[in-house]
């Protein structure tokens, strides 16, 4: 259970990092890439998949 909670904390951290990079990015190609990579992490964080 502790490992599972830690896993979700890690996912939340990765989501935060990618969101932060998305906001700071100046290239649209990178922004699209960040948003695509973000989706599975977001779905896991929301316990949808």
């Amino acid at each position: 259970m502790i490992i599972t909670i830690f896993y979700y904390v890690m996912i939340a951290f990765v989501v935060f990092l990618m969101g932060w990079n998305l906001i700071r990015s100046k290239k649209w190609q990178e922004e699209v890439l960040y948003i695509i990579v973000l989706i599975p992490f977001l779905l896991r964080l929301l316990r949808l998949k």
Binding site: I3, T4, Y7, L22, V32, I35, L46, L48, K49
Partner: protein, 386 residues
């Protein structure tokens, strides 16, 4: 600057739309209601947690349908949904729970032995979220499911799965495979707890024979067969010979002693019950399949699998007719009925008489859907959800 912000906002909105679309689909699939209309033979419906309270409130607190005869006899346990992506197994248990009437003895039926695995499809596998069986009253929808417990219910996976108690090293993902988790343990993972609960059921109810229903890809050598623990070789051999002579070809194989965690090995080693595992062919599972959709799942037709057969890569025949779901469910029904007959002949004091379950030819002639009951026309007290 303003142009950048507008572009970012547009990309974020697009991302949210994609995530929402996928999320809604996944949520609906995970929470799809699967009704079972308990038939006239069902005398009780229990929860698996009745045998192991730690399962209460978890995804794997499955329904246990009890079919009891008026006369005492033997006891069978039939497991569907050990691997939910093998739909003939679960559908056979639906037919049992909705139609079966036991006159002598008892049969315990689980439609979702690993219920958690029914709530997910294989990530990256492009599986359909569900499939529909045509019925005279429209159709009934079932969750597609996967081979392994849902990662939302059990995570993370280890680098290597070390089976308990043998300490045999197995593939990491099989830590979520019910048919590698036997005999399970009380303080283990959800999958191990499920196996442990089933062992408690087998022991407490003095189950004589456990039938674990499965399907297999045609490129897998263990197919169209009954896998038997050494205690059940005679039973499986007689059933196999009779079926092969009267209905369809089916083999039998001895459970390997060195391969741990499987129902046909561990149940036989650790309880008084005889475990048998039935396999039917499911082209949907073959690695060389074409488009992975509900049509392939139910019709079992695939030109690429046929081509693999022409190159001698398969362990079962396939032609343009494929392996339709009616054929696969029919095989499981007839194999179960045949095993019951052989068992009852050899154990008069522990006989089991089961009626109203269709045999192979009848399932093919009428279709699986003809034996599913319409929940909208049933007494609500008889409806249970998987």
């Amino acid at each position: 600057m303003k142009k950048n912000m507008v572009r970012k906002a547009a990309i974020i909105v697009l991302g949210i739309a994609l995530a929402a679309s996928a999320g809604v689909s996944f949520y609906r699939s995970r929470h799809l209601q699967e009704p079972v209309v308990a038939g006239p033979g069902v005398t009780q419906v229990r929860k698996l947690s009745a045998y192991f309270p730690a399962l209460r409130g978890t995804a794997n607190d499955a329904n246990v349908y009890v079919l009891e005869g008026k006369e005492p006899g033997g006891t069978f346990l039939v497991l569907g949904g050990s691997h939910p992506e093998e739909p003939a197994a679960r559908l056979t248990t639906w037919l049992l729970a909705e139609n079966g009437v036991v006159e002598i003895g008892r049969i315990f039926v689980l439609n979702s032995a690993n219920r958690s695995a029914t709530t997910v499809t294989r990530p990256g596998g492009a599986y359909p979220p569900d499939y529909t069986i045509a019925t005279p009253w429209g159709g009934q929808k079932f969750r597609m499911g996967d081979r392994w417990s849902n990662p939302l219910d059990q995570w993370p996976d280890p680098e290597v799965f070390v089976h308990y108690p043998s300490r045999q090293e197995l593939a990491y993902v099989d830590v979520r495979n019910l048919n590698r988790a036997w005999p399970g343990r009380a303080d283990g993972t959800l999958t191990e707890k499920t196996a442990y609960a089933l062992i408690q059921l087998i022991t407490k109810e003095k189950v004589d024979v456990v039938i674990d229903l499965h399907e297999a890809e045609l490129q897998y050598p263990v197919i169209s067969t009954i896998v038997a623990h050494q205690k059940g070789l005679d039973l499986a051999a007689m059933a196999s010979m009779t079926l092969s002579d009267e209905e369809f070809k089916i083999g039998m194989e001895k459970s390997p002693v060195e391969l741990r965690g499987l129902s046909h090995r561990e149940i036989g080693d650790r309880t008084d019950a005889i475990p048998l595992l039935f396999e039917t062919p499911e082209p949907f599972l073959d690695a060389t399949r074409g488009r992975t959709n509900a049509k392939l799942l139910l019709e079992g037709k695939d030109e690429f699998v046929v081509r693999a057969g022409k190159h001698g890569l398969l362990f079962e025949k396939i032609d343009a007719k494929g392996w339709p779901i009616d054929v696969r469910v029919g095989r499981h029904c007839s194999t179960l009925l045949q095993v019951l007959d052989v068992w009852s002949l050899d154990h008069a004091d522990k006989a089991i008489v089961l009626k109203n379950v269709p045999k192979y030819a009848e399932v093919i002639a009428k279709g699986v859907g003809a034996f599913l009951r319409d929940p909208t026309r049933a007494d609500p007290k008889t409806i249970y959800y998987e």
